[in-house]
């Protein structure tokens, strides 16, 4: 028991350099396991969508049905939040949703690396979203976009304070967007590894230990099911919040 490895739930998050790629101005570049899984995710998505839409039957077969359901799910959400004119943002939202969903689900496979549990990855995605929102806002509304921070019908006395609060809450959006996805993935996987570690620790303690190890075993199964739900839900919430922020950019008057 003393010689057994200590359960280390954080070891799964170590980013390894798979292929070092030299230096760029004092920063080491490498093809890492997180890059590998991003490539795997894109290959899976593109392969799935291409094979699913190859048949092109009017009454779809099974795989084509699944692809059409995925399309319709996100298209319905985009139409509901942004209206028909918002469909020009559909490729962006669809790419975000399927990428994050595939990365989350790949992380559920044992021994695979969870790319979205890295704050660098989720922060990059949310910075992408907020820069898109700001650029779209200024392109569509010109300098009047800052009217977003000045709501209707506020008495003049409160206006500076309310505007300051609105600006702060606008810039809190990318922070919360990235932290939500990162925190959910990180916490979920740590809890999963801790409960799985209990099984091993209890199982090593004789007959009663093995019988007692059934409890963390069942708990691990339950938490794995919860993690699948969370993977799907967090990808969906990221996509929906992207749509909502884009709606704010397109129509800044509240």
């Amino acid at each position: 028991m003393a010689a057994a490895d200590k359960v280390d739930p954080v070891h799964q998050f170590i980013v390894n350099d798979l292929i070092p790629l030299g230096h760029v101005a004092d920063m080491k570049l490498a093809f890492q396991n997180s890059s590998l899984f991003m490539f795997v995710a894109v290959a899976l998505i593109v392969g799935f969508l291409m094979i699913g839409t190859k048949a092109r039957k009017l009454v779809p077969g099974r795989l084509q049905s699944v692809v059409e359901m995925l399309y319709e799910f996100i298209a319905g959400t985009v139409r509901q939040v942004l209206g028909e004119e918002g469909m020009k943002f559909f490729p962006f939202v669809f790419s975000l949703f399927t990428f994050i969903l595939t990365l989350n689900l790949l992380g559920m496979v044992p021994y695979f690396f969870t790319v979205t549990s890295q704050i660098a990855v989720t922060a990059s995605l949310s910075i992408l979203v907020i820069v898109t929102v700001i650029v779209v806002g200024f392109v569509k509304n010109g300098p009047g976009f800052v009217k977003l921070f000045v709501p209707h019908g506020v008495p003049m006395v409160l206006l500076p304070l309310i505007s300051l609060i609105e600006v702060i809450s606008f810039f809190a959006r990318p922070v919360s967007l990235s932290l939500r996805l990162f925190g959910n993935m990180l916490a979920g996987h740590i809890v999963l590894k801790v409960f799985a570690g209990f099984i091993g620790t209890l199982g090593a303690m004789g007959v009663f230990g093995v019988i007692g190890a059934i409890a963390p075993f069942l708990m691990t199964i339950a938490i794995t099911a919860l993690e699948f739900l969370v993977a799907f839900l967090q990808a969906f919430v990221f996509a929906v919040l992207t749509c909502v922020y884009l709606k704010d950019a397109l129509h800044p008057h509240h």
């Binding site: 954080v10 959400t77 919360s176 932290l179 939500r180 990162f182 925190g183 959910n184 990180l186 916490a187 740590i190 839900l233 967090q234 969906f236 919430v237 929906v240």
Partner: protein, 73 residues
């Protein structure tokens, strides 16, 4: 008190935030169920909004957990 001990205590206190987030999430689903029992036909289309609200409320609990992790690890 040494900094390390204070950090661990702080991590424990940060986890209290998750209890409050649990109350928030339960609030959302409780109200959804109460409304769904009154108007079952409208419940189906609002379930998506309930999930979005729950994910947003749960997010704040996760922020508290991230602070706890930052302090412990």
């Amino acid at each position: 008190m040494e900094a390390d001990a204070a950090k661990l205590l702080g991590a424990g206190i940060a986890c209290l935030g998750m209890g409050l987030a649990a109350i928030g999430v339960g609030n959302i689903f409780g109200n959804f169920l109460a409304g769904a029992l009154r108007n079952p036909s409208a419940a189906k289309e609002q379930f998506t909004n309930a999930l979005i609200g729950a994910a947003l409320a749960e997010g704040l609990g996760i922020f508290a957990l991230v602070i706890a992790f930052l302090l412990v690890l």
